[in-house]
């Protein structure tokens, strides 16, 4: 039964975005040790758009996101079959240093994680790391303005980043991530630790950011996906292998996923039958 289920296991129809693809991500199998965490997920990230990843917990959406800038390399047992290509270049190429990948593909995490240093130094961190020679203060201000937090912190740039509230810390982290103008910004449930007002601000921010950046967003909140994402990828959990393996069920324009899903599972999920 399980063998048939495994071979019969559904695979999502390939989605081809209308615009240019920044990240061509095809993950056939992703393992943590022997555990198959994700299978058959072909998730192209379109340039200048927000791509949302939704699905129940354990569906591998974070794993897929973290594969894009090699954050999973921090977990020693991680390995995968497939490829991730960034502007056509293999992100996992033998000679590619993950450090370089992460400088081009920035990340904002679930928990706000500012460094224990001043607000200014937090934002200037990436600039200094990349030995930016220009006007540091101007860049820091610009990033803080873009992250919609400049007005709140402009008089206390020397205060510790950790002295801010949770929502402010998260916007500070976004400022830190965008100060170096990375091409792509990965956001892993950036609002899950935030209150509704801060969430609203961060969502607003994402919509502004997509003018300049490509954003991939993992969210547990379907409404958030409908509010900000242009394209939505829905992941499901496949228990036919014995473990809980995540896989891509359906990917398409957000409107289509929520209003006219092609898959039964997607229909059930977006109508709130399970979560």
């Amino acid at each position: 039964m399980s063998a048939t289920a495994a071979t019969m296991a559904p695979v999502a129809a390939v989605f081809t975005p209308a615009g240019a693809t920044v990240l061509d991500c095809q993950l056939q199998k992703v393992f943590y040790g022997d555990f198959l965490a994700v299978r058959d997920s072909n998730v192209p990230i379109e340039q200048g758009k927000i791509t949302g990843f939704i699905g129940p917990s354990g569906c591998g959406k974070s794993t897929v996101l973290r594969s894009l800038n090699r954050m999973n390399d921090l977990i020693p047992s991680f390995h995968f079959e497939g490829h991730v290509k960034y502007h056509g270049q293999d992100v996992y190429g033998k000679k590619v240093d993950p450090v370089v990948v992460r400088r081009y593909i920035g990340m904002v995490f679930q928990q706000p994680n500012p460094f224990s240093m001043s607000i200014f130094d937090n934002v200037a961190f990436g600039l200094r790391l990349n030995r930016y020679k220009g006007d540091l203060e101007e860049r820091v201000q610009k990033a803080l303005e873009r992250a919609a937090i400049w007005k709140e912190v402009k008089d206390k740039l020397n205060k510790s980043g950790l002295s801010l509230s949770g929502g402010q810390q998260q916007r500070l982290c976004i400022a830190r991530a965008i100060a170096t103008e990375p091409d792509v910004l990965l956001m892993d449930e950036p609002c899950s630790a935030l209150d509704p007002i801060a969430t609203r601000q961060v969502e607003q921010l994402m919509l502004e950011l997509k003018e300049r950046f490509t954003v991939a967003l993992v969210t547990h909140n379907m409404q958030q996906a409908t509010r900000v994402a242009d394209t939505t990828a829905f992941f499901g959990v496949d228990i036919s292998h014995g473990g809980r393996t995540g896989y891509l069920v359906e990917m398409g324009p957000t409107r289509q996923i929520f209003e006219d899903p092609q898959e039964e599972l997607t229909k059930q999920y977006v109508s709130g039958e399970f979560s």
Binding site: N69, M71, V100, S116, L129
Partner: protein
């Protein structure tokens, strides 16, 4: 019985009820014991200060502040001054802190930042902590029979080639500042390393993630993110290590040479307050004992000041880096 206005309010089948008289008694008893223990600590500290201060009082009255600025210690003429000992205490402790601090923090980074497998790190850490279990007198003996003979040729060469540098102005003839500071550094190493490892361990995983997410190399992550994040804990480690070095007695009494002089040279013999106390008490007459008590008060004050200053700096770092009170 305690007042229970809800006795008839709940459903008839409820098992809930108020704590018994005995439970409340236990509470009161526990509070009393805890308070008594806390009070006893303060009383003990005050008692020690009072007793030593009382014994030192005659010497304080006689020598006044001249005791701190004088540099002769001669029971025969009843001249007592501890400036060389104060110098020796601070100099040896600072040297030890410099060596042991750098070494200890480096080891802590090695043990806590995934350079070796977790299980191996535990073994390694236990070995480092075992250094603290070696008795002081054994360190002294080891210093005399191993460190001094090892240092002698190095010291001789440094003195011959670089004697224009004040640090190497004299030759090492046996016991002296360098072997004392070196052994002292090894003695404070476990303290510094263990507390620094804990400081690194307390850093949440998300901080490491944030650093790597910004595209730092491992070295940049440790130096630019982990180190400032752990700074208040590292400072605490250094303060504790320094405090331990200031008060260390036996090994220093055996290694420093017990010589009343102020010399920048690493190879000159010197003396510290603690080793002065240890080596002079057995043969001291009444007058000298009073002077030694005065010296003990000076040592106490120095350690107290260092610890208070250290705590102050640590609090400041916590505020500055972590944004907390």
């Amino acid at each position: 019985m305690a007042l229970n206005p809800f006795e008839h309010a709940g459903a008839a089948s409820t098992i809930s009820g108020p704590p018994s008289e005995g439970d409340y008694l236990g509470d009161r008893l526990f509070r009393a014991v805890a308070r008594a223990c806390a009070g006893l600590i303060i009383a003990l500290l005050l008692f020690i200060l009072w007793e030593i201060g009382g014994l030192a009082l005659p010497a304080m009255a006689q020598h006044g502040l001249g005791f701190v600025s004088g540099s002769t210690w001669n029971p025969g003429t009843q001249e007592f001054g501890v400036l060389p000992e104060i110098w020796g205490t601070l100099y040896s402790s600072l040297l030890a802190l410099l060596l042991g601090g750098v070494f200890g923090v480096t080891i802590a980074i090695f043990l806590s930042q995934d350079f070796i497998e977790a299980r191996l790190a535990v073994v390694f850490r236990t070995i480092v902590e075992l250094l603290a279990a070696i008795p002081s007198v054994v360190y002294g003996l080891w210093g005399i029979f191993v460190v001094i003979p090892l240092l002698r040729p190095v010291a001789g060469w440094l003195h011959a080639q670089l004697s224009f540098i004040p640090l190497f102005a004299t030759d090492l003839s046996g016991p002296g500042m360098a072997p004392a500071a070196l052994v002292l550094a090894i003695m404070i190493l476990p303290t510094v390393a263990a507390i620094t490892v804990d400081a690194f361990r307390r850093i949440p995983y998300k901080v490491k993630e944030a650093a790597y997410g910004m595209g730092t190399t491992r070295w940049e992550a440790i130096l630019k993110v982990m180190l400032p994040t752990a700074s208040s804990g590292i400072l605490a480690a250094l303060v504790l290590g320094f405090g331990r070095a200031l008060g260390e007695t036996m090994a220093l009494a055996m290694l420093i040479g017990n010589s009343n002089q102020i010399n920048l040279s690493l190879f000159a013999p010197a003396n510290t307050l603690a080793s002065l106390l240890a080596s002079s008490f057995p043969e001291a007459g009444q007058i000298e004992v009073q002077a030694l008590m005065y010296a003990a008060v000076v040592l106490l004050l120095i350690t107290l000041l260092v610890n208070i200053a250290g705590l102050g700096i640590q609090q400041y770092t916590v505020r500055k880096f972590e944004g907390k009170v």
